[in-house]
Symmetry: C2
Subunit: 190 residues, 2 copies
């Protein structure tokens, strides 16, 4: 069967980036459809009726939602190259644990840092730093999912050197402009 | 290698129940250690230092946390009988989606219903009913993960008829007493 792959995405989304990187690792061609959060497409509403959120992977007409779940699906369907998860159940459980940790902690705290001021901002910043410290500790003896680099920043640099990653991420200046414009639109123009 | 399995648990926990049911389905003997939330054991703090929460599965000295992740680990390690997940990647993605949905929605809303009054209580109740309706719709053509039963209650009844489920759940009167005592302890004695 031919593989028809469509991704409903938003260029600035960190969850969308996960899916883009996974597909790039597997060398899968796909059609990307950019969503407008203020005017969601019928395709998005139909393919993710529960959360109505991107990213959604549509593979031969079947939709899969939630980036962590999509990445596992991609790894299981295109298992011929570049495994994204270890073949060991314990290692796989650990990878799932950290995906879940990032989902629960990073984005929400990042939003708090972004949208708060004064004491609340200082608290949120402290929390975000403590989350990064936790992540840094877990990277103590790993590079991607394996050996070596002890620091989060170093790990980030190694990731960005991979073509599958660098080509899947938007320009950082564009992200900055997007965040500033978003804050303004929400009435947080400091 | 001998399988040494320990579960750090709390009898009333719905997340603990997931792990108990999965182990019962696989016919795995294990030692259950009951945790006291007001005085967490050193073993819990060491084996789940990030969240410090039950359930934790300790398998031959290695710890796995988060009930949804534990259930997948159990299914992957003891894959000789009673598969808990389909072998089809799409079906597996759907199962993961609903585990995630329940994690995100049911418990938090249940707590809101439990701890609120007046208008807030009515709102939370409406939300919980809408969550159950969503779950009911997804059970339209499934029994456990398969065919048949169109209703959540009917599905619940079918589940409870399974020995692996009924023997893994606490007595409902004990749960009721526990909830009432918990509300009182928190100052919600109506």
């Amino acid at each position: 069967m031919a593989n028809e792959v469509v991704v409903l995405d938003k260029w600035a989304s960190m969850y969308g980036m996960r899916v883009r990187i996974a597909l790039a690792e597997k060398g899968i061609s796909y059609e990307s459809k950019e969503e407008d959060f203020n005017n969601k497409s019928d395709l998005l509403l139909q393919s993710n009726p529960i959360h109505k959120k991107i990213p959604v992977l549509i593979h031969n007409g079947k939709s899969i939602s939630e980036s962590g779940i999509i990445v596992q699906y991609i790894d299981e369907v295109w298992n011929h190259k570049n495994p994204l998860f270890s073949s060991d159940p314990y290692e796989r459980a650990q990878a799932r644990f950290w995906v879940d940790y990032i989902d629960k902690k990073v984005f929400a705290t990042w939003m708090k840092v972004w949208l708060s001021k004064g004491e609340e901002y200082e608290e949120a910043k402290k929390e975000l730093i403590s989350i990064f410290k936790t992540l840094e500790e877990t990277l103590g003896d790993k590079s991607f999912y394996g050996v070596e680099t002890p620091k989060l920043v170093a790990w980030g640099k190694r990731c960005i050197e991979k073509e599958s990653v660098s080509k899947s991420l938007p320009d950082e200046n564009k992200i900055y402009e997007y965040v500033v414009a978003g804050k303004k639109a929400l009435g947080y123009d400091d």
